[in-house]
Symmetry: C2
Subunit: 390 residues, 2 copies
Amino acid sequence: MPVADKMIEMIDKSSMIRKMFEEGAKLKAQHGTENVYDFSLGNPDVPPPPEFNKVLKDLVNDDNLNHGYTPSPGLPQVRKAVADFISSEHGVNLSPEMVIMTVGAAGALNNIFKALINPGDEILTPSPYFVGYNQYSFIAGAPLKTVATDPNFHLDPAAIEAAITENTRVMLINSPNNPTGVVYSAGELTQLADILNRSGSKFGRPIYLVSDEPYCKITYDVEVPSVFKAYSHSILINSYSKALSLAGERIGYLAVHPDAEEAPLVAGAAAVANTMYCVNAPSLIQQAIGKLQGVTVDVSIYRRRRDMLCAGLSEAGYEFNVPEGAFYLFPKSPIPDDMEFINRLKDELILAVPGTGFGAPGYFRLSYAVPDASITGSLAGFKRALERVQ
Amino acid sequence: MPVADKMIEMIDKSSMIRKMFEEGAKLKAQHGTENVYDFSLGNPDVPPPPEFNKVLKDLVNDDNLNHGYTPSPGLPQVRKAVADFISSEHGVNLSPEMVIMTVGAAGALNNIFKALINPGDEILTPSPYFVGYNQYSFIAGAPLKTVATDPNFHLDPAAIEAAITENTRVMLINSPNNPTGVVYSAGELTQLADILNRSGSKFGRPIYLVSDEPYCKITYDVEVPSVFKAYSHSILINSYSKALSLAGERIGYLAVHPDAEEAPLVAGAAAVANTMYCVNAPSLIQQAIGKLQGVTVDVSIYRRRRDMLCAGLSEAGYEFNVPEGAFYLFPKSPIPDDMEFINRLKDELILAVPGTGFGAPGYFRLSYAVPDASITGSLAGFKRALERVQ
């Protein structure tokens, strides 16, 4: 076998996802793209805000723009802009040295895991969880342990405390959550912090809370509470993939809480990991986002789609919680076998992702980062699919 | 210790490099930037070609430009453009599926090592070697073994054959070479291929030749011969960091020889690694380089500087080989202790990198990616430093 043994399993998993995409592409070729309702992708389709286009044009129209290496942790003025913004949002005094600019949130997660994880250490995450976490824990060489959430997909404190062991190095959370759309409340974060503090004392070393928040600006009637306010051994992961619809440009950051144990060493280790993985975050887009702190896409577009989809599916008889953030709906599958129900939806030319992929069999995920017409056009099909299995 | 044990050594090494930079920055603050001659950086300062600026502006002026995720291995039209260009340059018939667009050459190396390396496998590279290879082999979890080159820094076939063991999974070469400026000849590559074929048969599995060629378009009176023509189990690594002076934008690729053992599986595994490390190569710059195959910076600028520096140092009495490619000169240190000689140069406000960092004590590296004025201004200092140690 020419390929590394451990990669085979990852290749197989990735083949399953690719097969799903290929089947979708086949349907589109057969029936016409406009007749297939593709809710399977988390690729933001709302355009970047006009401020971004202006900043990018201004940068590019300067013929003296430098495209050379940036310092590996990021351009000083960009780190400062991000640190200042985090300081104002989280009520901390964060120095630029605690911020590392990264190749998206994926790069940030890989960096911080490489910085923190020793052989034998484990990552704990509430389930359902973003499928990419399997990959980043694979890269880190750490098992990804999961702990069930409550029936509304919120944190279950007792279950978390029971799941933490002496090997738990990182608690990884994602709020607003992909796939559930849940936003953890300030009270939940405080409870979680209590558990982590207690468990850290019990096992003799701090447990780092890694909070992955790429959807933090895509919320409806709620704000994402600050993890920095809740827990000192915390690391904030973010990207501009959704806030500015720049997913393909690969720009994000990690920020280490200034009061985390040996915070400068942790940030320094993450910066070294950043050098080793990718040298530096892309320069041009780094410069752009440095000038766009606090700017966000038009969230009302996602809200409109969420409301349309929720109204339609509710009327059809689906069960789900109305998402408070992100752009996903996570309904209960009307039959226990979510893989089977995905196929029933496919009969109606509707593409969705089975909950099994997120560690939650019996559910399915719909992304509403889709044109309004996909929603209105699909509702009859959703209704028929449900009726046929009842 | 909050940071992973294995990271401590990498942090220490990186601190040494940072300390060197900081000392340089201090000198510049003391004496004025224009009075310090900084030959320590491999950051291309020749501007990108005008074609790049035009293509980038055209892309950015389209307000409908999509910044969303690209397929992880790259945009189809970009992979095709790169595959077509490689096919014409290397005389192979390379399909786009064999090309993975990456976050620079660093991303490409991390991907291919993750794809190929099992625990116990080793990477072999001729020394002197690019310091980043320590990092990428660290990420791969594989020891980096080195084999000495001949006195002119060309490959030593007997030494290579003796150095290969049953654990050698990858032979990693870099031509034009950083730090030596050597370009391996077609004859050398053929000899190397013979050794790899023989050793592969002996140990019962192919040894992959990973050829890292980011400087392939920065050459003087020579062409870089094709590794694809020399050896079938080869993987080409390249970037646009130097060819288009886009080092900070992080765009490169890996290409698997179509006749390599299970080539599609190897390319597929590298694509999965790419997803896990960075999701996709930056979208905007991907699109730009797709339209710029075969375009290169003005190499005559590097040639002029090379010739100025060679003439000046030769006149001063330094010993070195005239580089055939890249933008580095690798002179012999006039005293055995290269670290000490670097300090003597610093007394003359000249910044250089000790050969020890490249596995070659007794030498030092000068980057001539610097303004002409740095060269002319520094020659008297080079002369004095040499005289003082003689």
